[in-house]
Assembly symmetry: C2
């Protein structure tokens, strides 16, 4: 099945080509704020079972698209599938977030790490990508993703979430050689994981550097961005689609990375994700036409009423301003959507982005 | 008692005057990493009882000065004494951080808020300041402090710490009038609280905007910095010291505020605190001679060995570079010291800052 008019607005914006409206999708758009997601998750038995079941992962990936005119789908999965495939034993303790049974904390554990073959131990992800592409039928593009090498290392060393990242930072400052070895393995693992997703049908890939922003300035460059760059260097940048080669763009999102936008934009990605602390006009001036900018509404805006949601969404669009040749915005939140979001507010958001971004283009064309 | 040679390096640097070495003090320098602190706290019975006992608060304030040649003392207290004095019922649940019995969440609770008279309900703090000044005998200056109006509001509305600041952000986006009213009261309360500390003997004051960095760009300006500025506008900027008027400088520290350094430097403070995500050379170029810069070693560096501590401390000093007329650094951590810090590492840090900053000055004088 192929849709009559596939919506490639998201991919066009990521290539900094003109679009009729600003494309919008939301990090964690398939998630707990949707009752239909909670129903599917209950059928799956657990979050991890849901991730590992291609049919059900496909079902929840498509749920937000049935409700809202979003411009992209994102694979439903977890950022920690890669270290799980390395044999660290991912599990979710009730109300506590992800944990690993066998964290990587000493020389012996580091020496044992190897990059998994994504078509073996992560085959369920590739099956999910193929199933979703089939089900999407070309309506909107599908984004694949992974955690960044550093963000994966945080969980691998800490053994779960952390307030102060004491274990990984102790390793970073006292045994940088061990951390570099973990990051080398992670960079190879993430590159081959994303390449397998591209091979299976992902039309863009996103690297979530959720914890790069906890690092000191110099440490971010050395321990996070350098390895994200290795991943980007290792990516297959085009795929075969019905006999023709199509480009596969990439997005890097470092939460709390607003101070480092120039170096992130120089890493080889096509889009830079920014959180809500970033002023979009200034970010645009700093990044220029090197990359598209993705972001950056505070997800907590969605806790207010629909009128405030519309007003704040317009402010985000006005802050970026009219797109110009080589400069484009992809509208998103500055972080994952909250489980407490009223679903109707998401409709108000998506509709406003489409309407108001057309209005900005009209105004700008009229002024020119 | 007056010391023969009082160390005013910290105050000089804050006035951007030349100093022989870079002054250093550490946020939360009187704290749980020191066994003598834990002993005093045990005698006090609880953290809050320790804060409210001027003699014991003086004792713990002086403990780190007995171990390390620090260039400043900071009043031992909590940032939440002000909302506690407003009657919100501050308490500390074991292992859970601060909480309020009566959080401020609706119109009625907001309407009831009033700024406390610091010389009544916060008299124990002023008694502490006087006791500490007496005990210090002029050896090093004493810093007074408060939470920023927005940071206090976070705890007042959330009722404690938060991962997503959902309650205060919901108020911010749906009932900004209520939040503005809270912030107005807080700004008046913080200004009179800091003025009372100055009157009692504080020789510099610091405003901790611990949570300003969780706000979106425009919201930070409107809901955090605007009220910090009101506090600064309301400060008594000199005090009577033995019959002569001496200036009382101020420092503003917004954790995660690296994107907003220019506007913070323009708020009317004398020093800007920065966390470890900030590149000091770039911060210096952005702030120029408007303010001194305080920071910014990652506290987790202190988890490594003394050699790494020395090496990373030197990097921080080199990153700022030699002080020049109108531009000065005050060495500090980028956040409070961790309770897991080995005390010997702090000695290595303080000694290295003194030695290496003299070395940088020698090198710079030789090159000139």
């Amino acid at each position: 099945m192929t849709a009559a008019a596939p919506n490639d607005t998201f991919l066009k914006a990521l290539r900094r080509e003109p679009t009729e409206h600003t494309p919008v999708w939301l990090m964690r758009q398939a998630g707990r704020y949707l009752p239909e997601y909670n129903a599917t998750r209950a059928r799956a038995g657990s979050f991890l079972a849901l991730c590992k079941n291609p049919e059900l992962a496909c079902e929840v990936t498509l749920q937000p698209l049935a409700r809202y005119p979003l411009d992209a789908a994102i694979l439903f999965s977890d950022i920690l599938t890669v270290p799980d495939a390395m044999g660290l034993g991912l599990y979710f303790a009730e109300g506590e977030g992800p944990k690993f049974e066998r964290p990587v904390r000493d020389e012996a554990a580091v020496a044992q790490l190897t990059a998994p073959d994504p078509n073996e131990s992560l085959r369920y992800v590739m099956d999910g990508v193929r199933t979703i592409r089939q089900a999407l039928g070309g309506r909107v593009p599908l984004i694949g993703f992974s955690g960044s090498p550093f963000t994966l290392a945080c969980y691998m060393v800490e053994g779960g979430g952390s307030d102060d990242f004491r274990r990984i930072k102790t390793m970073l400052y006292s045994r940088p050689d061990l951390l570099h070895r973990i990051l080398e393995v992670n960079a190879r693992a993430v590159a081959s994981y994303l390449n397998a997703q591209i091979e299976a049908g992902a039309q863009a890939v996103m690297i979530f550097d959720s914890w790069g922003g906890v690092l000191a300035d110099a440490a971010f460059q050395e321990f996070s961005l350098a390895y994200t760059r290795k991943v980007l260097d290792g990516l297959v940048r085009e795929r075969d689609e019905n006999g023709r080669k199509v480009a596969v763009p990439s997005i890097v999102f470092t939460k709390g990375g607003g101070l480092w936008l120039e170096s992130i934009a120089d890493s080889g990605c096509d889009g830079v994700g920014v959180d809500w602390t970033v002023n979009l006009a200034r970010a645009r001036a700093r990044i220029g036409d090197r990359c598209a900018i993705q972001g950056n509404l505070d997800p907590m805006v969605l806790m207010a009423g629909p009128d405030q949601v519309r007003s704040e969404a317009r402010k985000v669009l006005e802050s970026f301003g009219p797109p110009t040749p080589g400069q484009a915005q992809i509208f998103n939140l500055g972080h994952g959507i909250s489980q407490f979001t009223p679903p109707d507010n998401v409709l108000a958001l998506v509709e406003t982005v489409h309407q108001h971004s057309r209005e900005i283009r009209r105004r700008s064309a009229g002024a020119a």
